[in-house]
């Protein structure tokens, strides 16, 4: 993947704080973190577009909550 484009990302202070915290926790640069977030968003959007539902499950109670994505 050598074909790269550059963009400026405008975030407020809270958003930037989350980016910095997650990047630090995951051991990623901010660029890599945003790329991961984009992949996740595309993955979920694709599934919902195909008519699938995306859930998160509590490991103990097994309660499921549907993941909502803006469409």
């Amino acid at each position: 993947m050598t074909d790269k484009r550059t963009m400026t990302l405008n975030l407020n202070a809270n958003e930037m704080a989350v980016v910095e915290k997650l990047a630090d926790e995951k051991g990623l640069s901010k660029t890599a973190l945003v790329r991961q977030a984009l992949r996740l968003y595309q993955s979920i959007s694709d599934r919902i577009e195909r008519g699938e539902k995306v859930f998160v499950e509590d490991p103990v109670t097994k309660d499921k909550a549907e993941l909502m994505v803006l469409s």
């Binding site: 993947m1 051991g27 890599a32 992949r39 595309q42 993955s43």
Partner: protein, 210 residues
């Protein structure tokens, strides 16, 4: 996106007793999926027919013959992930023929305690051609196709800033290889009813240096 050549690597051709150049491609192209359908699958089907003709437990016999992946639909999978940012695929070629195939998802989270929650690359499907498998032919041709693909997954992980971390669910016949040869951590059988293995940054470095 068209398939591009990542590099050329020398592996032992056991039938000719010499080193042979194999090329690594990303992503899997139509020709690779076609090789599976036209050249790999007929061999798998022949073995499955022989197993069925003998009667007994077909799935156990298939496991012993190392063909539990015979039903994998590589072309369908390649079509499904087209345009997806979280999937990468690789193919190994030699002599104008596909020798190995792999799908990797770059959207996993590690489970091993020392790296829990960190991102990692997950090998979803990995396979070598039937003529490279000791359980199917008396003299398998290329030695090291699986190792080459595993190294490609580790390189992808490094490229994505995952420090070489990878994870995978192993088919039963491959469990020893991942544990003993690759040095991956065995995290036991999970909800998929398959054994899950993970490679840490240190294990990845050791694997690449071995």
């Amino acid at each position: 996106m068209s398939s591009r050549l990542i590099g050329t690597y020398q592996l032992v051709d056991r039938q000719q007793g010499k080193l042979f150049d194999l090329s690594l491609w990303q992503p899997i192209a139509d020709r690779h999926s076609q090789d599976f359908e036209q050249h790999w699958r007929p061999i798998f089907d022949t073995h499955l027919e022989q197993i069925n003709a003998l009667g007994g437990d077909g799935s156990a016999a298939a496991a012993l013959s190392n063909i539990q992946d015979a039903h994998w639909e590589w072309a369908q999978k390649a079509h499904l992930i087209k345009g997806r940012l979280d999937w990468q695929s690789f193919a190994v070629e030699a002599d104008g023929m596909t020798q190995g195939l792999m799908f990797v998802k770059t959207q996993g989270f590690a489970r091993e305690p020392s790296q829990h929650g960190k991102p990692l690359a997950v090998i979803e499907l990995i396979a070598t051609a039937p003529w490279n498998r000791p359980t199917l032919v008396s003299v398998p041709r290329f030695k090291g196709v699986g190792r080459l693909l595993l190294a490609a997954a580790i390189s992808l992980s490094v490229h994505e800033e995952f420090e070489g971390r990878i994870g995978l669910h192993a088919l039963p016949q491959a469990e020893d290889w991942y544990r003993e040869v690759c040095g991956m951590t065995d995290l036991g059988v999970d909800e998929t009813r398959m054994r899950y293995f993970e490679m840490t940054e240190a294990q990845a470095r050791a694997f690449l240096e071995s």
